[in-house]
Each structure stands twice: as C-alpha cells, then as structure tokens.
Symmetry: C2
Subunit: 407 residues, 2 copies
C-alpha cells in the first residue's frame, strides 16, 4: 500500500467539482459534487443523534434500498436539520435535479449538508448550484481539491488523501475527503466524510468494512463532545480497478480494510487536529486494557475532558486530570496499577506509576507538551486490548468561534 | 419552613472555624472545622470516580462503620488524591490529631480535601492547622462564615444557607455550606458540601434522605463534565432540636426531606452559577418526559453541551444546539413533538415547536439570554416526569483559569 496524490477523484472513474452557490454566504465555494461514471455499491454510517437532519434520513433510506449510487451532492452553510417536511422536499429536489442533469436515476443521488440548524435551504440557489456542478465536473486532482475546499467551513485546511493497494494483481485506489468542526456561522461540529474507491466489492462487504472501520477511526475523535445532527460518512465503490469482486472475508478483504483504515485514520486525525480553535492534535493511546471496548472508552474519556484539553492548550503537565478522566469513564481498573506517559516529537516521559507521580522534570514535560501533536500513552496492565482516540486542545478561540460571532 | 441567617453553625450545638494553615499558599484561609458538641448520626455521598482521593476512602469507611461522628476537618490547596499509602496515613494523622485536641475518638473525625492532585499534604502544616482550628472553634454565624470562606478556591463567593422547619412541634434547623469549581492552582472541579442539622433522625433515615436528595440536587449540576476524585457531601445530625427521632417514613420525614431539598438545591444552584469563569447560571428544566430518569438525562445533556454553553456566553439563541444535545443524550423522543422556550427575568419566548423554528424576534431572545440566570424549558409531551439541571456558560475565563495559570 502506498499513499498517492489526490482525494476523491484519485480512484478510476470518479469526477468531482466545487462551486460557489451562495447558499448562505457569497464569494466562497459552498457546493460540491462527487460523480462516478459507473454505478457504485455504496455504504454509509450516520449520526446516532435522535435528531437527524433531512439529508441523513434521505441517505439512510437510499443507501439501504437503492440498487446503486452514482453521485453525491454536498452543501455547506445550512445544515437542513430541524426543517420538517420542507427539508425532506429539498433533498428530493436536489436528487431529482442532479439525476436529470447527470442522466442517472434520482435514487442514485445522495445528498449531504452542514451548517446552521433550523434554516431552510433556498431551493433556487441549490438547483442553480447543481447546474454549475454538473457543468464543472471533471477528473483529476484539481477537481478533487475543489470539492474538498467547497465542503470546508471553519476548517483551516482542506482534508483529503488517496492510497493505492494491490488486490488480486490489480491496483485498487481508495480516496477520501472530509470536513471537520465549525462553520463561519457556527452551529455545531458536523463531520462529513466521503470516500471513493475503484475496488470491486459487494455492497454487503463494503458495508461491513465501513462499519468495522469507523469504530476505530471516525468514532474515536471528538472536538467538543457534541454529536451533530448531520454526521455522515459515505463510501462509493465503482469496481473499475478490475479486481476479482470481494464478496467474502479473506486476504483481499483484509488488504482492502487495511488500506481503508489508513485513509480513515488519516482523515480522522486531520479533523481532530483542525478542531475549532485547536492549536494541537491531542492523541490518547490506551494499551494493556481488559477489553477493546474498555480501551476505546478510556481513550475517548481522556480526549473529551475539558479540563485536560485546557491543560494541553496551556502545555501544562496536569496529569491528575487525565487519571481523573480515566476514572469517570465507566471502565473499571486499579488506579495503583496504571502508568501514564507524555510523548511527542519533543520527547517522552513517564509521569505517573505505582499510584503516585513519577519524579519528572516539569520543564521537560512542558517542552513535550508544546509540540503540535501530543500523545498520552496509558498502560492499564490488565490485558492485551488497545485503542487510540484523537481530539484537540480547548482554546480561547473555541469559545470565540462559538460565542462571539455576532458581535 | 423559612430561610434564616447562617450556615453550618445555624443548627444547635454546631461550632466551626476557618484558619490560615499555609497548606499550599500563604495568606489565605485554607482549613476549616465543623464540630458538634454532641455525637452525630452521619451520612455521606461520594464521587463515583474509580480514582478516589484518600479522604474519600477514609470517610466512606467511617460513615459506614463508625458509631457516631462529631467533627469534620477540611483543607483546600491539595486534594490528597493519587497519593498512595502516604495519603491514607495523612488522613489517619488528621483524625488522630483532631480527636486528641477535641477530646473525641479519632473514629468520630471525618476529613475532606480539595486542590491539586498528586501532591502530598505536608503533615506538619496540617497538624498545626488543626491546632489553630481547635483553638478558634466557636458558635454563631461568624464562625460558620469563616469556615465557608476557608473551603473556597476559585469560588468568587462563599456559599452557605440555613433553614428552619417545624417537626413534631419543635424547631429543627438545617444549615450547609459548599465549595464549587476551580482552584487558585486549579486541578479540577471538586465539589465539597457539608450539611449540619440538630434534627433527631436515625442514621438509616438520614442516609436515605441524603441519597434520595442528591439525585435531584447536586447530581444535577455540571460545570465542565469532569467528575472529581474528591467529590464529597456529608450531613451530620446531632438531635439537639429535641424532636421525636425520625426512624421511619412519614410526615416528619417528608418535612425534613423538603427542608433538606431546599438547602441542597440552593447550594447546588450557587455552585453552578459560580462555576469557573461563569457569567451566567444556565438552568434547563425538562417537563412532560416519559420517565424521571429520561428527564434527568435530557436536562443534564443540555447543560453539559460545550456548544450550548458557549452560545449562552454569547447571548445567542442558538436553539439548534439544544435540540442536538437532547438528541444525543441517549433518551428516545420524537423531535417533531418537542417545544423549546427561553426564560429569564428578561421575559419568555417560544423558540421551537412542530419540528421547526418558531417565528421569534432575535432581539428579544438576546435580551432574555443576557440575564444572569437563564432557563431553557423543554416540553417533551410524552408523560408527566420532570427534572431540572443547573450549569453555567463557557467563557474565555474558563480556558484562562484552566490553561494559563502558569504563565
């Protein structure tokens, strides 16, 4: 497996576009299209929030029941959440309009939105946008980057990646893009992720691969603990790589999953590190846990702790907060038997063990915590299970972005 | 029932003191004593964190097994958490020293600490402090206020209250004090609460009253979602009011519980409104829920949402975040059937209903949200259950207090 240039257009047969549609703001790209020249198997995972945005309801139904998928229309600015029947009608309009322009069934068009909750999307602007997208769609890295830029909100950088992997003697490509936390008119941390691949893989195996993967990639990140109404991760597979179709577990499936995981972890880390107001990526790796579930629970509890996040922002080796967050996570353990380490490009130190603080240098700890990517390594000494979670620090800018934007 | 002057010394036979012991900082009161001239029945509730501070382990054992309790020694500055055997030895030294000076068994002395995790308490300073406390202990409101001040950390005001209630023709008094979130050298939001009463009530009924009460008072507040290693709530009852001892449920017990609840909710609200960096008390009242448990879960989810808290700080009617927080709480409901209202001394508006935004004035909403106490009323339209939770807004100062204190 190797990383290559590009994003959602890296795999064979995938085109993309990103245009200005003025959905809520002028003079910025706010609509994107992903289009496959061939029908795709599709799978998706969606927000667990009881309050689900219209595009989430729309896509869940389509991913489940549509015989194939060929396009995704994405807009930023307005989330199309809490918008009632009018919101569902908007999804229908989008799919119908895109279907007509692209010459594919409306049931082959997925939609996704991110932005302010409660506002209605102006129908005319979105259909105008779709017309622009259909005209602009193209192959190649530039078109992929345009799309990655169009789904950005308060993201400071576009987030995309592509990898190649040999399956059955054929080169299979997986590409992806995502957006993270925050909006110009912020409303919530909405995660949208879109993956494309030319692998030949059955819908069932694609779904299994995605569901298994997210538990250790996108579901292990948090910026502020608020699970959006719009979270959506989609994968489209068009089979153009020409590999023998993956229809069961085995070597090909494993290699596909490995490449997929490389892509999803890359994007998840990018999203966490570019969280609203973030100055650092904050990684917590738990090893030696009694079970995988415990390891995940413990790691997520640490990266979600406001006090720990604020300490990371201050480059402060306040390890008590980490132990505290492990303690209230819900997992059972013996605090006397835990080891804590801080690690970064600045070095590595053992900070807590045998039930008390280690004899460490505060200066060294501060140096380690001043790196742009900081890892807390936690050894529970209870078993073999491990998990990693990714978050970011809590800064003044997080408050500014989410409170002050009207003033 | 009526509210009266004072705090922990309001009930008959209770004395208190607050002194400077230099535990971690100079020139500030950092040790407090509560003392009863008569043996007390005692009950306590303690942190659910797996990582429990030494005083928590000490008190749990004593409250369970000691025949009676007569004093509580409290210090701020150092939490005596993650301190291993030396930490437990410190608790023992405190109890023995206080027992000798006060002429009571060491098993009648409870201890509580709040402050930095991981540091050891200097034994000499704490025994010197106990000597000062024993010499300074006195009846009356001034001594109670001294104690309430001595347990403050980044609290901006001392928090105390007392009420009188007639039981069995006798005047029974319940007083209390607590400290909230933050420290001068902050480490975590530690809640300590101490209640005293001259009611005659059996240990079993006292325990039942306290356990029932906290579910709707102290357990319904949150400043930052971080459950401390030191959280402790204690109640001491010395029987000096002369009422017929409460040994079973009935009218006297109900009246006692009602007065207790008035005291605990008062203190809980004070604690939430004085959370680290807070500019407003943020109350969420859920009515019409399917069950009490659901109502509590929903209300707490809203007051814990970082995005909602930041919006309250910005006086921004960002109701989508509230609906989102209800949605990810874990409780099931139909978003189309929820009503949201904002309420404060500035007025009341209906902001969401029938699945979409109501036609409200942003200006009016901002005025309502600019009050020092803001309430979100949520009607689930599913049943009769209700619950209220209290938090605070998320401000720049929260980040400052928890990140910047070393610079």
């Amino acid at each position: 497996m190797k990383q290559i240039e590009g994003g959602v257009t890296a795999a064979k047969g995938f085109q993309a576009a990103g245009v200005e549609a003025g959905i809520k703001y002028q003079n910025r790209r706010d609509m994107a299209l992903i289009y496959s020249t061939r029908p795709c198997a599709a799978a998706g995972t969606f927000t667990s929030n009881v309050v689900k945005a219209a595009p989430v309801l729309w896509d869940k139904e389509l991913v489940e029941n549509s015989p194939f998928v060929q396009a995704v229309i994405i807009n930023s600015g307005i989330a199309n959440a809490c918008t009632g029947k009018q919101g569902m009608d908007c999804c229908k309009t989008e799919s119908r309009c895109a279907g007509e322009l692209l010459g594919i069934p409306e049931s082959a068009v997925l939609v996704a939105s991110t932005g302010v909750i409660g506002m209605q999307i102006p129908t005319e602007r979105i259909t105008d946008g779709i017309r622009k997208l259909a005209a602009a769609k193209a192959e190649g890295p530039e078109a992929g980057l345009d799309a990655a830029k169009a789904i950005m909100t308060t993201d400071t950088v576009p987030k995309q990646i592509a990898v190649e992997v040999e399956l059955d003697g054929k080169t299979v490509t997986i590409g992806g893009m995502c957006k993270g936390s925050g909006m110009i008119h912020p409303n919530m941390c909405t995660m949208l992720g879109f993956l494309t691949t030319d692998a030949a893989i059955s819908k069932e195996m694609l779904r299994r691969a995605l569901r298994t993967d997210v538990a250790d990639s996108f579901n292990m990140i948090s910026v502020d603990g608020d699970t959006s109404t719009n979270d959506t991760l989609l994968i489209l597979a068009n089979g153009l790589a020409g590999n023998r179709e993956i229809t069961a577990e085995g070597e090909d499936y494993d290699r596909f999953c490995e490449a997929l995981h490389f892509v999803t972890v890359y994007l998840a880390r990018k999203m966490a590190g570019d969280g609203e107001g973030a100055t650092a990526l904050f990684e917590t790796k738990v090893i030696g846990a009694a079970s995988r579930e415990d390891a995940r629970t413990l790691a997520k509890s640490v990266i979600c702790s406001s006090l720990t996040k604020a300490a990371i922002f201050g480059h402060d080796a306040n390890w008590g907060r980490i132990l505290c967050a492990l303690g209230y996570s819900g997992a059972q353990f013996d605090p006397e038997n835990v080891d804590l380490y801080f690690q970064s490009t600045g070095g590595s130190i053992h900070i807590y063990g045998n039930g008390t603080a280690c004899d460490y240098s505060e200066e060294e700890a501060t140096r380690i915590l001043s790196a742009p990517e900081v890892t807390v390594l936690v050894d529970m000494h209870m078993g073999e299970a491990q998990a990693t979670a990714w978050g970011c620090d809590l800064s003044y800018d997080y408050v500014k972005i989410n409170a002050d934007y009207r003033s």
